[in-house]
Subunit: 611 residues, 2 copies
């Protein structure tokens, strides 16, 4: 480096809400936010992982036409930025890289020398999870993600080939190294390489799904990596809902000494700007070539530092409380599912119970009251307070409300087939499901299912009845948290001087499916406190029976809950997707066989003991 005095740079972390598969729309997001950044004097702007394709694109990665289009989109984007006068802003975007000339084998030819079945080599074209630095109309360098997560919700070993090169770009006299997401979670990974090779700044585009309290992990993590890389780290995470995932943003900038320079708010699109003053003398040497398992390459765009400017202090967003964080995850997850799928409105059954009251409140927060339609569907077993609580809920929220008694339909079935017990109970739920789907089809509303995680876990719901729906907003919320969120949301309304959205009576009364006279949930289930504690350990932590007993759970409750959870696997495979907020949702990150004879409850505890 020619000049060893401290140099300045204004950087921007654009945490945007991309759409999977929408290459053109996502490119437009990049130009829009880059223009905003340019207006604010930003020299380098970082976008989230796989900005152009959205994340996770799943098996779209394996479609050649999509991969080619992504490669073209990143080149086109560089041109567009320059055309729009934004070429002088360095832009880091994520995309799907694909190697030309290594396309698929010709169709209808017999398998060739690699001896594999036709679907055995989906990574033809060597797809890579890439980040590109764009500058003055050109794609200057391409970095390929080295560490491919393949656990939980991630399947990147299925899709990508890992990278081995570490490009470092000199921009305005500052050496910028590229990484992608998981690269940052690995000690001795690319940040170790960067620390050994020498750089001033590490950019890290991310797609890190929300999980309760995950934000508490990020800052210490980024601090360790900044220390390891001996460089400032810019961590930019995407925002938005994608099927069962929701991304919370929470982008960060951290100095090599661990100082938090700036932090973006969660759950909103945001441009976080940070004014850096970097001392190139603090980097002892700057090498290239083989460093550890990677090859470091150096690229010079400009040696000249930017003119000195008045630095602004970095903004650090206030952390959210646990309930507020969950609430905003659920609202954003629902809003993006509805809007990204182009649905005009939603419909749901309002029973007067807490689950549907909470889902209605989430839906109104997500979409506005005018896009939410509630239907009261009383049966002959519905208590009087059910209908009045449902109406109260509708009125508090200001949503569209109607009532359709289900007795005539139920009676018509009962005249045609003889039903008793669970079959008769389920019939009522299915008549409701059929009515709601009829309204959905007639008016174009998406049906929201109101099942919570506790019910989903133990199968305490009716397939094609209350389990029916295109989205289940609280599918990953245990019942005890349902109550907590309801109380929090009402308190929040009081704090703001607004009407409490959830009827107190819905919160206070004992939960009941009301499918038989006098029925309450505790007829069939343990208390929700016990149930949720076992679910947390058995489902989220994947503990076996012995460990569950060690942790002090009641053996009879454990035996009963495990039997229910195992038996409900089948039902869960047919239920609607919902926003993930915990370690393991009943979605693609917990893929157990339907046909599965393993039962934790058999070896150590007798069946059906007592309860």
């Amino acid at each position: 480096m020619n000049d060893q005095r401290p140099v300045q740079l204004r950087v921007g972390l654009a945490q945007v809400d991309t759409r999977v598969g929408d290459l053109a729309g996502n490119a437009e997001l990049v130009t829009t936010w880059t223009a905003r950044a340019a207006d604010d004097g930003v020299h380098l702007v970082v976008f989230p992982e796989m900005t152009l394709t959205g994340y996770p694109p799943e098996d779209l990665v394996l479609r050649e036409s999509f991969a080619h289009a992504s490669e073209q989109a990143v080149v086109d984007l560089a041109g567009t930025l320059a055309e729009q006068g934004l070429g002088d802003v360095a832009v880091v975007v994520g995309y799907l890289a694909h190697t030309e000339g290594s396309g698929p084998a010709p169709i209808d030819e017999p398998p060739t020398d690699d001896d594999r079945p036709a679907d055995a080599n989906p990574r033809r074209g060597a797809p890579r999870n890439a980040a590109a630095l764009l500058y003055r109309g050109e794609v200057v360098v391409r970095y390929y993600k080295r560490h491919l997560p393949n656990y939980g919700v991630f399947d990147e070993a299925r899709y990508f080939v890992p990278g081995t090169e570490m490009p470092i770009v000199r921009l305005h006299g500052i050496d910028v190294a590229l990484t992608v997401c998981e690269d940052l979670w690995v000690e001795g990974g690319p940040c170790g390489v960067i620390g050994a090779a020498g750089a001033d700044l590490v950019v890290s585009p991310n797609a890190s799904p929300y999980e309760r309290a995950k934000d508490d992990l990020r800052l210490p993590l980024v601090r360790r990596r900044a220390h390891e890389a001996r460089a400032t780290v810019l961590y930019c995470n995407q925002v938005g809902g994608q099927d069962e995932l929701v991304f919370d943003g929470d982008s960060l900038a951290v100095a090599p000494d661990g100082e938090l320079l700036a932090r973006a708010p969660q759950f909103v699109e945001h441009l976080l700007t940070v004014d850096l003053t970097i001392d190139p003398a603090s980097v002892p040497e700057r090498t290239e070539g083989r460093v550890g398992p990677m090859t470091v390459t150096r690229h010079v765009l400009s040696e000249q530092p930017v003119p000195a400017f008045a630095a602004r202090p970095g903004a650090v967003a206030e952390p959210l409380t646990d309930c507020e964080e969950v609430w905003r995850a659920l609202v954003l997850g629902l809003r993006d599912f509805i809007d990204k799928n182009g649905m005009p409105s939603v419909v749901l059954g309002l029973s007067g119970g807490i689950d549907s009251a909470l889902v209605a409140a989430i839906a109104v927060d997500a979409l506005g009251a005018d896009r939410v339609h509630g239907v009261g569907l009383p049966s002959k077993w519905s208590t009087e307070h059910s209908l009045s609580d449902a109406a109260d809920s509708a009125q508090r929220l200001g949503l569209h409300y109607s009532v359709v008694p289900i007795a005539p339909m139920v009676e018509a079935y009962e005249k045609s087939v003889e039903l008793s017990g669970v079959a008769a109970e389920n019939l009522q739920a299915r008549v409701r499901g059929t009515l709601l789907m009829a309204l959905s089809n007639q008016h174009g509303h998406l049906l929201l299912a109101t099942s919570n995680k506790s019910e989903v876990a133990v199968g305490y719901s009716t397939l094609y009845g209350d389990a029916a729906g295109g989205f289940a907003p609280i599918k990953d919320v245990p019942k005890t948290l349902v109550w907590e969120l309801a109380r929090w949301r009402n308190a929040e309304a009081r704090r703001r001087g607004e009407t409490e959205p959830i009827p107190q009576n819905s919160i206070d009364k004992p939960p009941s499916a009301e499918l038989a006279p006098g029925q309450v949930d505790t007829d069939s289930l343990p208390s929700y406190e016990e149930l949720d504690a076992v679910i947390a350990d058995y489902v989220d932590r994947d503990l076996g029976m012995a460990q569950l007993l060690e942790r002090g759970h009641d053996p009879d409750v454990v035996a009963r809950v495990l039997r229910l959870v195992d038996a409900a696997e089948f039902k869960r495979r047919q239920s609607a997707p919902g926003t993930k907020i915990s370690l393991k949702a009943f979605g693609r990150d917990r893929r157990l066989p339907i046909t599965n004879r393993w039962r934790e409850s058999l070896p150590t505890v007798r069946e059906g003991a007592g309860k």
Copy 2:
């Protein structure tokens, strides 16, 4: 080797039908079939991949209690075999290996030095896909699968750590090398190591799911590997249905010169015995230590060859025709789903159409007529022949049959809510779904959905209506193949002098959903010949628009079909599982996002052109 004269060995390939998670039951299968093999004078018997756990165990692998139990089960099995007087038979079984002492981090402690989120390291305990050789009460050696498939239906990178050791065991003077499944599909993989190190025999436990015509690939593959290993290869594949997968057996023994020594039939449990005469002199050298990427270890059980015996010629099963192969896959897939899940019986709606007639015939072949309940559910739009064809189908098959007209229920709904168009059509399908589920709940039958792959692809079905069901036997069968199978099955009946199970009228009449007067499928869809051809290229081969047009498909048909297939993603996510028979079923091997803005139909062809 002390003695260089040719030595004999009688080997057995036990292609059994295991159950995922049922460690005890699977161990019992091994003792039962080993006893059978011992009675037949077999010296070495090979079982399929992951015999003890069943395959694929999916996320069960990550449950510590299960992994520990699997480790214990293989040790116990060795003891049980010896106790039962079977210790002198060498037995190769697959299981889930797990390393003691590397268990999970203590619960509720903060994340430690590896900086990962709590679910980031599921492979704690280094789970491995293992094969063990059991002999005289001991687990003699353990081999860990080296090549972990992670494409199509396979997710092994999610679960397993790859092996690096190649144990070779001398048994009765013959050197036996171990591999597992995918190891055999890789040129220059473990078979290359074996060829360089020197061995007489390669055992290969497999779990290779059925796919149409896949059996045509296996023999050439095993021949190439036998040549590479310079050894006889024993390829033992599992049999049976597991959720959406069905395994077809088709076990093989192939000599180093490529000679097919024996081949087992498909779709049945079977012990294939092969009498080998091996010339140890044909192996030029026998080394140990590092060979290529693996470490070869040698273990001697017995130098002494078995006493000479009269060798029997190996049996080679007749190959099945395409239709027979598919039929047997569908029958076995359904039977195992029902039986392994412990269901007593099935119920389905009989419409008089070809799909339900075919599913009924499959169900009767799978379960026997007494476990199959058909219900005619005529509406006001049902034509006369619908009910008579349904009754004819029931009578030909001898299943339980009843009729429930749906008009009273449909009218009850229509009096409560105003419905038109698709909403009114879907209502009828949902009343049928609700009635069938009521019968399912009341009598314990599992409901079979009758949707075929063409319908599932384009979403030509009603969610919670005809799409409802616990299993969809022909979900992966395109409509044109539905007809072909029906004709084949009737011809088969004639050949056997039995009643044709499928009414000719159901085969011949134009397909109709009969949800509106005079409706036929071609009102909404292209011809099934065109539709199925596009589905094969777009879904199974994952081709993009440009390639589809190159292949000569009509542009308007392609535009229309792609739009329908993309739009139906959502509906498919809520449908019942079914037996996979093609390259890509609508199951876990094709996991596209629900929210997905990528549309092949937009860039090159205009929307809704003409049709």
